[in-house]
Amino acid sequence: KDWKSATITLEGAYAPWNLTNADGTLGGFEPELAKVLCERAKIECTLVASDWDGMIPALNAGKFDVIMDALSITEERKKVIDFTIPYAATPAAFATAADSPVANATGTGAIIKMTSGQTGVKEIEALKEAFAGKTIGIQAATVYAKFIYDNFGATSEVREYKTGAERDLDLQNGRIDLGFDDAVYFGNAFAAANGALAFTGPEIVGPIWGEGEGLGIRKADTDLRDKFNEAIKSALADGTVKELSMKWFKVDVSPQE
């Protein structure tokens, strides 16, 4: 099949990655990047919003051809769908209420790099002590959830939320002490919280989060995947990704080697 057209799905409610404007159109980092990528791959793209919960099964059921929804490339997911090369890779960090006792925990401002499955990192050991007995909120079934369970599960209480937004509200309400998530996502959420929330502890980067965020594509459609791979490579190379990232995230999320 030669791909003249394709449908791309995203949630449309995960600002600033993707969001819905008041006039019903989709906006944000990913829709703008999608436009660039489709132009370069010479594919006529239609963007459709759909619910996060059903996205991967719906892709496999043929409801659309591409998922572009801050989808992290993980081994588990690779078993059911294929990915393009990553177009973004983001660090992760802890957040807490600005007036919390665990604000400005050890290592705040630092960046540590971790590889998958790495243990015994001394900064993390220090944090473990600082966060002992506290409650950490995470979004269920994410790479971050696994990291928190592996490293903090024994000393802190872990609470799982269906979405990050709900966890952020509870952080403000004081039901939990800490949240752990994508630092870019947090940066945007803090803006909406009017300074009530702040980062604490070091930023964690590296292969531990997998390769980054890529487009999800059905396993059978290798030709479509290859076309998008080429497009992403070119957009990364000429700085288009960086430019859009600065516009929406205020930081550069282009994957670093």
Binding site: A15, A22, D23, A49, D51, A61, G62
Partner: protein, 241 residues
């Protein structure tokens, strides 16, 4: 941005989208109620037939679709239905994907659920008809069809109205679950607006209020229908408890 601007019909206002979403919810619910009316009637007739096979089939239908969470049924129809349609399409030589649009899948799923509740409502209404009135119909020589049309149907409708009011309410709320198919009905639009603007409380409260508006409109409609249908009842039976 002020609350008023956010909810208004201006450039950055969500008013128009919310309004369309409310109408979408109304449309889905009404369609589902109609589908449910057809299924409910058939199932109620089966359950009243006295035929062992039909009665058991009817019982299975009402037990399963009342007993299984609505969300699962919506998923089954949305994904399962698409796979089935695609399979049929391929078998007939059509290449590629054929799907049930989310409106159709959602309305069908909620309609099937609504049907299980409506079946019980119609069955109860039928049983409420005084046996003597059916005998009186037979006694003047009405055949089955005529009796159904002239004596049974009008009374079933009358007795079913309060129950149908409840079913409408349930169906309205089940329609909120169709948001998982990405259909821009009221619930999903509220969620999207909340996520995009990070004004969670504002949009959930507004969403809730819009549901209440739909409820109060439909309440009014059903009360009117009930009063009309009860013209033939003694005044005392119409009043409150």
């Amino acid at each position: 941005m002020t609350t008023l601007e956010l909810l208004g019909f201006g450039q950055n206002g969500w008013g128009a989208l919310l309004l369309v979403a409310t109408l979408m919810t109304l449309a889905v619910t009404a369609t589902a109620l109609l589908i449910g009316a057809v299924l409910g009637t058939v199932v109620a007739i089966a359950k009243l037939s006295g035929n062992l096979l039909l009665v058991s089939l009817g019982n299975i239908y009402t037990t399963v679709f009342r007993g299984v969470p609505e969300l699962l049924i919506i998923y089954l129809i949305y994904f399962g239905g698409s796979s089935a349609v695609t399979a049929v399409g391929q078998w007939m030589g059509y290449e590629g994907f054929l799907g049930l649009p989310s409106f159709a899948a959602g309305a069908l799923a909620v309609g099937i659920i609504s049907g299980s509740y409506q079946a019980e409502v119609y069955r109860g209404a039928y049983l409420a008809i005084a046996k003597g009135e059916l005998e009186a119909a037979s006694a003047i020589g009405m055949n089955r069809m005529l009796r159904l049309r002239r004596v049974v149907m009008p009374q079933v409708l009358r007795f079913a109205i309060p129950g149908l009011g409840n079913v409408w309410q349930l169906t309205l709320k089940d329609s909120a679950l169709i948001s998982v198919t990405g259909l821009a009905e009221l619930m999903r639009t509220s969620q999207v607006a909340a996520g995009s603007t990070r004004q969670y409380f504002l949009f959930y409260i507004v969403g809730g209020i819009l549901y209440l508006v739909l409820t109060s409109l439909s309440d009014r409609l059903f009360n009117r229908a009930e009063r009309r249908a009860n013209r033939s009842m003694p005044a005392a039976a119409m009043g409150q408890a």
